[in-house]
């Protein structure tokens, strides 16, 4: 059985699954219940000077019948007194000594304020501190959250202040609302951060009510931009995690956050370099119980593939992430349609014809030669550029596959080709710029 034990910058937990700082980690009762359900750690909802929240705080994006594909919030940090939060953190840690308990902090940007908060937090016995430099809404208007995390100098300065008094690992939580996250990551490293976590939520307006013209979540007919999260943001998070994990100037552990809802998502984050995983939206949707399949699915996959520890998986995808100019131009693919499983919806033809390279031939439906069992679509091999679009739109799994077309040419990258070394293999070229009728 795969070993999921996690040591993240010295913070130990029975598995890599932590609750991200947010509504599910607001109280002792929630965190204790989560640990009982199997969560390995929890990052407490951000503690700071108690705030006052608005009513109506969450906006949701459905995709067809799928609820909460994306999700945003205009909720602020904890509205509970600092002392209450710290007391409960101490209690959780006392009752769950083997679980990771991390305090997320956000205070005004002065050395004294940070010193005091860090010292008080450490007295609880918490395993680590996460600095919330990421929330894009509300707190940023007051000079905190992403207002700090968007400026490398501010990030470095506050991390330095924290590290002056910190005796436990300090994790810096990064905002994705920047031009290049690696600059912020490097600033955190320079300030002495022990680890990074990313991504925080993405600035967003999820929808507008077309009767009232109020964006969601509406507060008396008005709203504000909020932090976007949920399954929709996973691709952005994966990229930013890989960018930071692959940066030679950032050699500290990374906690992956952003749209993790299944064990597959988790495995992908680990493969791109994450040392632990933080989950919030999926728990807000389905509850703490989802951790059972996160653990079970990840362990089963690791067992099937012979990975014994998380370390054996961590970062395995990073060498596969390269610059575009290092990709092989002589690696050619072609789409193949399995006519036995094709259900003749012609979505591939429509997509290829209008949206790609006009590389699918469509035969008239209902003609004798396209009767039962006869194909209605076929790939025009000399025109196919192997782009994947037809396979992406095909509603039948495995019906359209992309197959390697071997050639006798050595691999050549753009970098090499532009420098005049290496030869391009003959490739599909098909442009119908003159007359679309004729080119059919």
């Amino acid at each position: 059985m795969a070993d999921l034990k996690t040591d993240f910058a010295g913070i130990e937990s029975p598995n890599p699954f932590w609750l991200a700082s947010g509504p599910p980690t607001n109280t002792y009762g929630q965190v204790a219940k989560a640990f009982d359900a199997g969560w390995g750690g929890a990052v407490w909802k951000t503690i700071g000077e108690p705030i006052i929240n608005v009513f109506s705080r969450y906006g949701s994006v459905d995709l067809g019948a799928t609820r909460m594909m994306g999700f945003n919030n205009i909720e602020l940090i904890s509205d509970r007194p600092v002392a209450d939060n710290l007391k409960e953190i101490a209690e959780v840690k006392r009752n769950y000594p083997k679980h990771a308990v991390i305090a997320s902090l956000m205070v005004e940007s002065t050395q004294a304020a940070w010193h005091e908060m860090v010292k008080r937090t450490q007295d609880t016995g918490a395993d680590g501190i996460e600095l919330n430099f990421g929330c894009p809404h509300g707190m940023s208007e007051r000079g905190m959250g992403s207002a700090v995390g968007q400026v490398p100098d501010y990030t470095c300065q506050i991390v330095e202040w924290v590290k002056e008094v910190a005796t436990i690992p300090v994790i810096v939580k990064l905002t994705p609302n920047v031009t290049d996250v690696t600059y912020i990551a490097r600033a955190a490293v320079k300030g002495g951060a022990d680890a990074l976590s990313l991504i925080n939520t993405i600035n967003s307006i999820v929808s507008v009510d077309l009767d009232t013209f109020a964006p969601a979540p509406a507060v008396g007919g008005k709203s504000s931009h909020g932090g976007y999260c949920g399954p929709a943001v996973k691709p952005i998070a994966l990229h930013l995690v890989s960018a930071v994990a692959g940066d030679p100037q950032v050699k500290i552990p990374i906690s992956g956050i952003g749209g993790i809802a299944t064990w597959r998502d988790a495995a992908e984050f680990i493969a791109l370099g994450a040392g632990s995983l933080q989950v919030c939206t999926a728990v807000m949707h389905y509850g703490f119980r989802i951790v059972e399949d996160l653990i079970d699915g990840l362990a089963n996959w690791m067992d099937e593939r012979g990975h014994r520890t998380l370390a054996e998986v961590r970062g395995r995808a990073l060498p596969h992430v390269v610059k575009w100019e290092d990709l092989d131009l002589n690696y050619h693919l072609i789409a193949r349609i399995d006519q036995n499983t094709c259900i003749k919806c012609e979505l591939c033809w429509t997509a290829c014809e209008d949206g790609a390279h006009q590389a699918i031939r469509r035969l008239e439906r209902g003609q004798p030669e396209t009767g039962n069992g006869q194909p209605v679509v076929e790939i025009i091999e000399e025109a196919c550029v192997g782009c994947n679009l037809c396979a992406a739109v095909c509603p039948v799994q495995g019906c359209i596959t992309m197959e390697r077309v071997p050639n006798d040419f050595a691999p050549v990258t753009w970098k090499e080709y532009a420098a005049g070394t290496g030869k391009l293999a003959p490739r599909s070229e098909h442009f119908h710029t003159a007359s679309w009728e004729r080119s059919r």
Partner: protein, 411 residues
Amino acid sequence: MADPAPVLSDELLERNFADIAPPLTRDYALLEATKCLFCHDAPCTLACPTHIDVPAFIKKIATGNLRGSARVILEPNPFGHSCARACPVEVLCEGACVLNDRDEQPIKIALLQRHATDHVLAHKLKLFEPGPPTGKKVAIVGAGPAGLSCARDLRRFGHAVTVFEAKPQPGGLNTYGIAEYKLKGDVALAEAQDILDLGVELRLTITIGRDVPFDQLLADYDAVFVGVGLGRTKGLGIPGEDLPGVVDALSFIEALKTHPYRETRVGKRVVVVGAGNTAIDAVTQAKRLGAHEATIVYRRGENDMPCFRYEYELARRDGCGFRFHATPRRIIGNRAVTAIEVGTPAGAQVVPCDMVIIAIGQGVRDELQLPSNHPKVFTGGDGANGGAEIVNAAAEGVAAAARIDAMVSGR
């Protein structure tokens, strides 16, 4: 038989006995799994006698964790393979699905369960292991769902298990008595074998109470679980019952399930007496074997039939006939059946037929006299509950294993 129906072509027979609910494609399974709301305290789970955590196993299908999904199913229900095919889900999990309250089709729980558990059979996954040996020995009478469910968990607890089975094959009614279009014999046997592979000793063609006295088991083992089925089909007790062409439903179905389809002959006109689920299995299969007419004769009315509504609808779709308020009086024929006379509110009527299948329920087994309230004797399955579903037998077998474990371990 006076006038047997011509044997259908092998191709047609294969089609007629193909799975009535074919397996889901991967696409469909994913679509269906994604539709599940993942209810808390889910009514489907409550409705299942083995309380499979249905939303959990469906969620695992959606995440691609089929091994984990199958384990969620098979942990509480060792007969998850056959239940996926033969469980009356319309009145259990699927009937309880909250989507019914939204005027939608319920989640296809049975087919999703099959999707997950088929993965186990296809890849020969071993999800369970025997426990460390305890030195305790348990005898089990009957290798049906109750007995083998009990056997599986006793092996997981580490107890030695010997199962005595009267028939030449394990699986009980799964192997011998479920309509072929619901559950094929090879699946029933594979499911049984998976349990036997945990190190269960199986002794076939031994009838306890006849070949071996029950007291012998009490002397030789630390506990005995009796998971026998019911006895023979009850007779009608009317003249002509011994004529050639009169068979009991279970013998008819057993012959069909243990021989090539073409070897089980039916009359051109078949009358099935009774209106329970076994009667439906008999009448639909007689029709699917090629009977020109297959008719249920039932002494009471349409709304009194003990069969499930969807079974009735299936028989209707198969083109089977129904004669209500018709009580069999005598079976007519010289050397073979030619008709059955029934009493109706309008007086006696003669229904011409070439075959009569009797399906009015089974009696209790008479060869096995159990000591009452013996501390070492545990029971479950049809013989104990009077005849219920596979899932009930599995639940009872699993529950008995826990009680037996507590008893032999001195807890």
